[in-house]
Amino acid sequence: MQNAEAAQAGLQSIPALLARNAERFGDRPAYREKEFGIWQSWTWAEAATEIRDLALGFLVLGLNRGDHVAIIGRNRPAHYWAMVAAQMCGAVPVPLYQDAVAEEMAYVLDHCGARFVVCGDQEQVDKVLEVGDRAPSVQHLVYTDKRGMRKYDHARMNALADVQAEGRAAQQRLGHELDERIAELGYDDTCVMLYTSGTTGKPKGVVLSNRNIIETGKNTASFDQLTAREEVLAYLPMAWVGDFIFSVGQAYWAGFTVNCPEGAHTMMTDLREIGPTYFFAPPRVFEGQLTSVMIRMEDASRIKRRLFKHYMEIARRIGPALLDGKPVGALDRLRYMLGNLLVYGPLKNTLGYSRIRVGYTAGEAIGPEIFDFYRSLGINLKQLYGQTEASVFITQQPDGQVRSDTVGVPSPGVELKIAENGEVFYRSPGTFVEYYNNPDSTASTKDAEGWVATGDAGFFEEESGHLRIIDRAKDVGRMADGRMFAPKYVENKLKFYPNILEAVVFGAGRDMCTAFVNIDLTAVGNWAERNNIAYASYQELAGHPQVYATIKEHVEAVNESVAQDPMLSGCQISRFLVLHKELDPDDGEMTRTRKVRRNIIAEKYADLIEALYDGRDTVSTRTEVTYEDGRKGEIRATLKIEDARTFPTRTMQKVAAE
């Protein structure tokens, strides 16, 4: 076990890995960031110097062992450096979601007792200042972007570059102290603390140790044979565990390059310029890209459209088999090659996927059509299943065994078991240490033997050994007549339609299922434009009779497919309505990672749910909304409720075994 030896040899912290990389990959790029229109790059050796300067600067400012350093900002090399620099000083980095409003931030800053806060720009500084007394532990702010910061009171504030300069100046004085602190870092010391967005209750601080991160990075890097030559694009929130594993854990273990886009709005251009070899995106990114490709193809000339259609047909037939290494006839290979030359190659280039060796999607179920589209182009897109408490990886799909409806086999080093009620449990080297300052939650999640409840219900497929996830375990319930109710299962089927952005299904303890539907403004708006349907607002479009008719078709098609499954056929949707506003994290209806918060929605829209069940045709409602700047407003609407056809269960009617 070479790796185990290496770990013994002192690679027991991220700073130790940094030192190794600076030595071994010294002149290979570690970080790139597009700024002023040009990709700036730092080699591992340069990055090591920058990080050291920053760590020394933190020491000058008086950062103690065990302090928490909050980091709030978009993906920038400086912010990754701040995390590693904090680790060097023996402190714990705590990345936060940059779109969090001041209240959410106040809770987290106060809960972890952060003394130092690294802010990306003026906006984040303002938020932290607004928090003020609600997080009394905060003593010093460091900001990355100097813009607009000149007139602030700098008694408790510094620019990150200035902190580095002070650190450089103090090298002689504090270098020894820093080296000592780096040497102290052990395998079971805290590496990072990440707050889970939590579909219920207050966020919890998940403490992950160096062991968790490095073991996970090591195991998964070897699973996909990641090397120092990979390129990744760091564009997902830094507060999300996935970004920490991909852009720090795996990147430091394998020594590959992390590329930071210019800003969130240039991500697609930057993706194309970098052409990552290893890529992660939640399903909505892939969905969004597919939608935009399809919309643009509709606008293309007839020849191009036919060419596209013809070759996509071939790709769908041959592409996945080629990717899985199954035998394919010579003629088909030739056809696919031609298609690659004419269609797939240029298309992949436009999307920025020309060089992808391994791509992952996770977080939500991905529609089979979407998944197959990318795979048929020859993009090795796979699924994984994970959570913050596991340092991401629980299961993942090995090359050659990829399907849209499973989440794969256990990741290396992970043990899995399924409880009586169907809930999935795991145990792995990546399993978190504890919830910070919350022993009760820790105890209820992780048992003495280290098994962690995922909260998801699932089962192993007999022939392939792959795990399939049905729903959140606590969301799986019974309807009034005892039939099984798994809302997510139906919602996912609905969401696979491009017109439907979100769906929330109700029915636990009731005699029928009903649903809220959110339309996708991009797709439906485009359709409206094509059909000369005028609309002034989201609300008006959502309530349009033709939109209702389309959604009704989708709902009925889903009912028909749900009816195929005898176990879940009770989940067919009898009545639905199209919501007048988009579900929004700012209103607390979704988590920051865009997962629906069922209880909050049920509470907030209780009047609508009541109307769904009491047989009314329309319902008037008023809803409070929160704008991006935190102000509140109110929307009033009258919504139509539509009945949908349900289907008899296809197989022989078996009475639910009681």
Binding site: F36, I38, R147, K151, G263, H265, T269
Partner: protein, 269 residues
Amino acid sequence: MTQTTITPDGRQIGDVLMDLRNITLRFGGVTAIKDISFDIREGEIRAIIGPNGAGKSSMLNVISGFYVPQEGEIWFKGYRRGPMKPYEVARLGIARTFQNIALFDGMSVLDNIMTGRLNMMKAPIWSQALWWGRAEREEVENREQVEKIIDFLEIQNIRKTPVGRLPYGLKKRVELARALAAEPKILLLDEPMAGMNVEEKEDMCRFILDVNDEFGTTIALIEHDMGVVMDLSDRVVVMDYGRKIGDGTPDEVRNNPEVISAYLGVAHE
């Protein structure tokens, strides 16, 4: 004599940068501006407001040197200014944006902003044509400045987009970027918020304040939206039918009876 004022939010406002004395401008028989005097001090945001046809745009054109007034004197940086050609105005450090956007629709955002730096390019034409030596060096230097402005105004994602394809609000921002590219001493904005929605207005306000704060650029602007003007400006000149009827801080102007009557009409006796 140096006088420096510090505003409540900590900005420095310095000496008189431009002094307009008894300006009168006539077009044939029509007198657009009647004997107006006011000054613009270094680092301040100076607004010119007034009802339609009050002569605001004419005033801005006088400041920019496009119109030459029949009477009166214009003093800029302590020198009296005579009639000038447009390029001379630009060299003096005066840049402007237009009420009805005047960008090159077919060119990319980047190229449009680059035109703002034309005055900084000194290389001879043959050298520019060959992209060699001094021309290349200058282009790189200028591009660097332009990229800083692109970053400042947060338009990185449309850098390569042809201006014609952009929505109105963004075009306005690009125009501001082009004016900034000239590194002006005085920036003249002709109705920067006209036709914008609330969000675009708020963005534009922030950018104007940031420009003033970050680069210390003196700004003279014309605007209809009173809310915007009162929030943004340090001092306001109010015009009505070519006359100046008020001059002072937003509060003074707001309480000036003549201004109120010009805007709201007077009660008939």
